[in-house]
Symmetry: C2
Subunit: 400 residues, 2 copies
């Protein structure tokens, strides 16, 4: 793919961390980097101008959501996603596979990508959860997935071929292979069956490709099982993808997630970029980079922002706290984001209490700037052989 290339500029001496550059038809991405999430072709509350101003080099939109509304054919007719959302930089779309998890098992059992509950084997292929069950909207078979639209209840179907068709209509620069994202509660046996399906789908996905200007990333699955993860990394790395993503269940704790990365990333072709799906707390960014991750995406910074939780070098603060009612200082001193340059904590506290839309916006601007600036500092530290020192000093302050 002539429009797409990945170059490693600098490798850390004592870890897998590396600084690189990813070229796409809509511009380059310095790595490691954070992909700002715009699920429905919009970064919650922010204009493309602001997304650029906070330092974003790439955004992610969600195939599943856009397939259902407004429909990929509408977006194609509008000239593609870049034109539709007026974002001229690189875009990534996921495959829709994650929704198999989030609308299926996650809804049924109330768990996220990292489970914090004790697993017990049950006979439906998944382990027991103590949470209240809701009915799954999803049926998976070897050919693909059928699901009920959460918008109108209609039955829809996704297959590898359909996923790439949708993603070609959307027209992102980087597109993700259609996979089955298993739950942290899945048994090893079920995870193995799902993994074989994911591998089979990866081959079908590559085969169905028509456009030549999009980079295809394969997704490594295998849950929390070392042998399955390794099998998956080896298999996905053997396919002609332009890059990789680590997806699926990452175990029951952050430590489990670190292990998954340690099993997986070293087996992937080191000359291709690797993305960690759906993870992005500040401490995760360091741990991921250290283990060879080049890109992250996560809704956490904007979701926290909408709830009034702001990221600072000294950890999170809840801006709605009474003590900020007459605080003249910005959220973070010396922060160059629009919010900190123009407003103090007292004003943000007021906006949140007064339920003003501007509250969520200004908070999102700050949190995204914080994360994207952190990635910039991480890149700098790698280039200066200071990654480990930077990680240590940042986390010491951040975790207090």
């Amino acid at each position: 793919m002539s429009n797409f290339s990945f170059k490693i500029i600098k490798r850390d001496k004592s870890s897998l961390a590396r600084a690189g550059e990813l070229k796409t038809p809509h511009g380059k991405i310095e790595t490691p980097n954070f992909v700002t999430v715009g699920t429905q072709a919009a970064i919650k509350g922010l204009t493309p101008n602001e997304v650029k101003d906070v330092g974003a080099q790439i955004v992610l939109a969600n195939t599943y959501h856009l397939f259902l509304r407004p429909g990929d054919k509408i977006i194609k007719k509008m000239g593609g996603l870049h034109k539709f959302m007026s974002w001229n930089g690189p875009i990534m779309t996921d495959s829709g596979g994650f929704q198999i998890f989030s609308l299926g098992f996650s809804l049924e059992h109330g768990v996220g990508k990292i489970a914090n509950i004790f697993p017990q084997e049950i006979n439906c292929g998944h382990r027991k959860s103590t949470k209240n069950k809701k009915t799954s909207l999803v049926k998976i078979d070897n050919d693909g997935v059928s699901f009920k639209s959460h918008l109108d209840g209609s039955i829809k179907r996704l297959t590898p071929e359909k996923s790439i068709e949708i993603q070609e209509n959307l027209g992102a620069d980087i597109i993700l292979a259609f996979d089955e994202c298993t739950s942290p509660l899945a048994t090893k046996n079920y995870t193995k069956i799902a993994l074989r399906r994911t591998h089979n789908w990866a081959i079908r996905f590559l085969k169905a490709k028509k456009r030549k200007d999009q980079a295809l990333f394969g997704i490594v699955q295998g849950g929390e099982y070392e042998d399955l993860r390794k099998e998956s990394a080896n298999f996905i790395s053997s396919l002609p993808f332009e890059g990789f993503a680590v997806g699926g269940s990452l175990g029951k704790s952050k430590k489990d997630m670190h292990k998954v990365l340690e099993w997986t990333v070293p087996l992937l072709d080191q000359n291709r970029p690797c993305h960690l799906l759906g993870i992005g707390e500040p401490e995760d960014l360091f741990e991921g980079v250290e283990r060879g991750i080049d890109m992250f995406d996560c809704v956490i910074p904007t979701r926290l922002a909408r709830n009034g939780t702001l990221l600072t070098a000294r950890g999170k603060i809840n801006i709605t706290n009474k003590k900020f009612i007459d605080d003249k200082k910005p959220v973070e001193e010396n922060c160059d984001c629009y919010t900190c340059r123009n407003f103090n904590k007292a004003y943000l506290n007021h906006l949140f209490k007064a339920n003003e839309i501007l509250a969520a916006r200004l908070a999102s601007i700050h949190n995204l700037y914080f994360v994207l600036n952190l990635m910039k500092e991480i890149r700098k530290s790698i280039k200066n052989n200071q990654f480990y020192n930077f990680k240590k000093s940042f986390l010491r302050k951040y975790k207090k």
Copy 2:
């Protein structure tokens, strides 16, 4: 007041329309103009940068709301309203008087500034309404007003002296006299009593003034009664206010409102600016300017925007309408607002359907730009002796 001056640049030959310039300590306002409403020290969803970009020269914040939250003393401590909300241009605050109406009578009877229901005399000083009554939160006496905070139920009091104290703490450039805004359902007898109170409060308001850098505007009341309106205009004009505002009930129809303006404005000192409170549909702007109004404020453009109703030269459109799902054109062709320059109707339709915060923002930007640009065109037309022609051609297209 050396920091404040009003200069008339051009008068229309066949009406009271005039183009002028209002100087304030935070910059000048070209008149006639529209004051963008930021009730709680924030223009719903917009940053100060955007407010400037849509062409706003002045914003209005609400004394009543800021008195209750975060409190005028907090805002004073933060360096005043300009600094608090990071808006360096002119600011106007209302007096809190309008809330006597909106939380008292309006809540009780479900009516706005222009009533559209048939009045019947009843013995409580107000005419009967067919709407369901809610309990008034307000008690008015000759000294001032006591009311229950809608936030925490605590009892608060506003008097002319308290209103100016709050407005001096807030520190706007233009502040409004404390008045009683009577309802369209008020009897003539009640309106007369309220009017005398308003006049007495105007004198007390002027007397209580301490700061020298704020312009005080007196408010003309008198409901829909010609003799009371004329009495009020003469009285308020005789006081040393820097400008005037026409407030209160404007009758039962737009025609009644026009009559109120025709009785009132000619009796006011023509060398001082005159504001029409709470009115701002495009057709009203023309009718007001024609009758000598220099400034307007209204929540309509942003409220409509949040509901998906967009203003265009050919009237209002509801962007959520199905027919816009694949409409490649901007809301208004040749419109220079950020929204129209960057997005088409299909994208706005999608954002509204997907409940994205960005929907309200982009729509608000367009509607405010539309109204502010209309005011600019009106000013230009007055200067070019084309006001009447412009009014005719605009309204012909706008009302189809």
